[in-house]
């Protein structure tokens, strides 16, 4: 792979507002069944504006992200189709689509638009009403439930059509590739890896239980009891939590969700004029590798991480909080090690000791992570940014981490695969 580098922003940019819907399955909610993409994105956008203390007229430009708008929502140019839901008819906008990395790219693009001097106030968000599909020619409020038989065949569309789909191996390997390499390098048995991943799932659910926006909030203790288990780990290892791949059980895969999240950025020099404590975006590193490349997640994470460390001069010990796209649950501690947030070869011990839980000393995915928070594809990355901002302001409520984070790192991953590593810091 060819390495990249990032420069210093022409002007500093900060996040001044965030907004989000809960992540949910609206098929289960008669009050919300039929909620359209424009309504969800509009809610997230307007609550982000309210958070910042601004009105739609104050926003100069917006970015709309969704993982796959044609498949999920039957739309191209979806940015234009949602603009009127939040008072931005006639303003400039653009749509982008990087599958599960979309929400992270959303921040990158907005920051560059402001850093360049083109715009002062930019809204950027992701949305996916991912539990349903268009129902023929009916309006968006009518839809049919999305099934696994709908989505799995479509996942191949993330793979290079010239070679990758024909050679096919990447699609079959990505789930377990990095975990297997890590297990081999660190002499971790299948049984021990199962314990590690079940512990991750358990602590992720503990955080989600305390997070009002999370999709799965029932404590695993209760779930286990309902199935007749007094010990939650016995439940997580049982047939009620079957393996989906060699390593990943159902509890290690991300449930599909409906949801949206947005943020608003502006130049740091004017960020103090608004309602909230500004969160500066220090740097965003980027890499992308096709699924045919062995160990692509590890390589792209290392590359994007190197870029931000070189740009900022920060050390891993400066990072107080890490959020990782963990639609493959093992990514939590694997990416944490690759980025230096956990010591090499030791991350699995931190997991087993509960140190990566929201109330541990090296917290990861304090919103519950994809496996419990839910995964609304193109919106999930922005939901992580939403969580990071709340934590850095001290507004995360019951799942607020012990030490108020000054610096947060996020690792986005998705779409065949794009990677972003983003560093946020409480503005001086």
């Amino acid at each position: 792979m060819v390495k990249g580098k990032i420069g210093k922003y022409s002007r500093s940019v900060s996040i001044i507002g965030v907004g989000a819907t809960p992540f949910m399955d609206i098929n289960d909610d008669p009050e919300l069944l039929g909620l359209t993409e424009g309504e969800a994105f509009g809610y997230a956008a307007l609550t982000a504006m309210e958070d910042a203390g601004i009105k739609p007229r104050d926003v100069d430009f917006f970015y709309h992200g969704s993982a796959n708008p044609y498949f999920v929502n039957g739309s191209i140019t979806p940015n234009m189709q949602v603009a009127e839901w939040f008072g931005m008819r006639g303003k400039g906008s653009v749509h982008h689509s990087e599958a599960c990395c979309t929400g992270y790219v959303a921040l990158e693009q907005a920051v560059m638009a402001v850093a360049s001097g083109t715009y002062d106030v930019v809204l950027s968000g992701g949305v996916e009403m991912a539990t349903g599909l268009p129902d023929g020619k009916k309006p968006a409020c009518y839809r049919r439930r999305l099934t696994l038989n709908d989505i799995f065949p479509d996942l191949i569309s993330m793979v290079d059509r010239a070679y990758g789909r024909a050679l096919y191996g990447g699609h079959g390997i990505i789930q377990d590739d990095w975990t297997e390499l890590y297990a081999r390098e660190n002499n971790i048995s299948d049984e021990l890896m199962d314990d590690i991943l079940n512990t991750l799932a358990y602590h992720s659910r503990r955080a989600a239980t305390l997070n009002p926006l999370a999709m799965h909030r029932q404590p695993y203790e209760e779930v286990a009891k309902e199935k007749g288990f007094s010990n939650v780990m016995d439940y997580l290892k049982s047939e009620y939590n079957p393996r989906m791949t060699h390593y990943l059980r159902v509890s290690g895969n991300a449930p599909t969700a409906d949801g949206s999240a947005c943020c608003i950025v502006c130049p740091t020099e004017i960020a103090h004029r608004f309602k909230q404590k500004p969160i500066e975006v220090l740097a965003i590193g980027a890499s992308a590798l096709d699924l045919t490349i062995p160990h692509l997640e590890k390589k792209a994470t290392a590359e994007a991480g190197r870029q931000v460390y070189e740009r900022t001069g920060l050390k891993p010990e400066d990072i107080d909080l890490l959020l990782v796209n963990d639609f493959l649950l093992s990514s939590q501690f694997l990416a944490a090690e690759e980025l230096g947030y956990l010591p090499k070869g030791e991350g699995w011990k931190y997991v087993l000791e509960g140190r990566t839980a929201f109330d541990g000393d090296r917290p990861i995915n304090t919103n519950g992570g994809r496996t419990s928070y839910g995964h609304a594809f193109g919106a999930s990355g922005m939901a992580d940014i939403y969580e990071a901002v709340l934590q850095m302001r001290g507004q995360a409520g019951a799942h607020q981490i012990k030490k108020m984070p000054k610096t947060t790192m996020l690792r986005g991953f998705g779409g065949g695969q794009n990677v972003r590593v983003e560093v946020l810091r409480v503005a001086e």
Binding site: M1, V2, L148, F152, P153, A162, Y163, A166, L167, Y168, G169, G170, H171, G172, I173, I174, Q175, D176, D177, E180, L181, M244, T245, H246, N253, L291, T292, I293, P294, H295
Partner: protein, 135 residues
């Protein structure tokens, strides 16, 4: 620079049992599957070479509900997925034919294992898979 159909030549090659790749004219790295430019050093020029198809598989994963391929299932023979390092120095995530789901796990402790290329008719074209040298 020549405007040419590298993808077509690659798949035409597979029809004839030949694996085409490219080689960077500056750093010498193998570009596989073939592209115009070098993705190892970022140089703009590569030239045609052929690969032996010999290498070793370094990992094996059985197909699961979320990774199984309808096309591969239609071959009616066992398959799994694996990282293949070719003897020319390039690597790829590939399909390994002839290894059953059960054997995938059994073989883990014996990896890496030597493999060779096989050319498989699938969905109306020929593609590249691998098989263990010794089943």
């Amino acid at each position: 620079m020549k405007l040419e159909r590298l993808t077509k030549k690659f798949f035409d090659g597979l029809e004839e049992g030949v694996i085409y790749a490219r080689k960077c004219t500056e750093c010498g790295a193998i570009e596989f599957p073939p592209h115009y430019a070098c993705n190892t050093c970022g140089y703009n020029e590569t030239t045609w070479i052929t690969l032996s198809g010999k290498g070793r598989v370094e990992s094996l994963f059985r197909p699961e509900f979320i990774t199984a391929s309808e096309s591969l299932e239609s071959l009616g023979r066992p398959y799994c997925f694996g990282r293949v390092a070719l003897e020319e120095g390039c690597s790829i995530n590939a399909v390994i034919l002839g290894v059953s789901r059960k054997n995938t796990v059994k073989l883990w402790d014996k990896l890496p294992l030597p493999v060779h290329a096989v050319f498989t008719e699938i969905d109306g074209y020929k593609t590249l898979h691998f098989m263990l040298d010794e089943q």
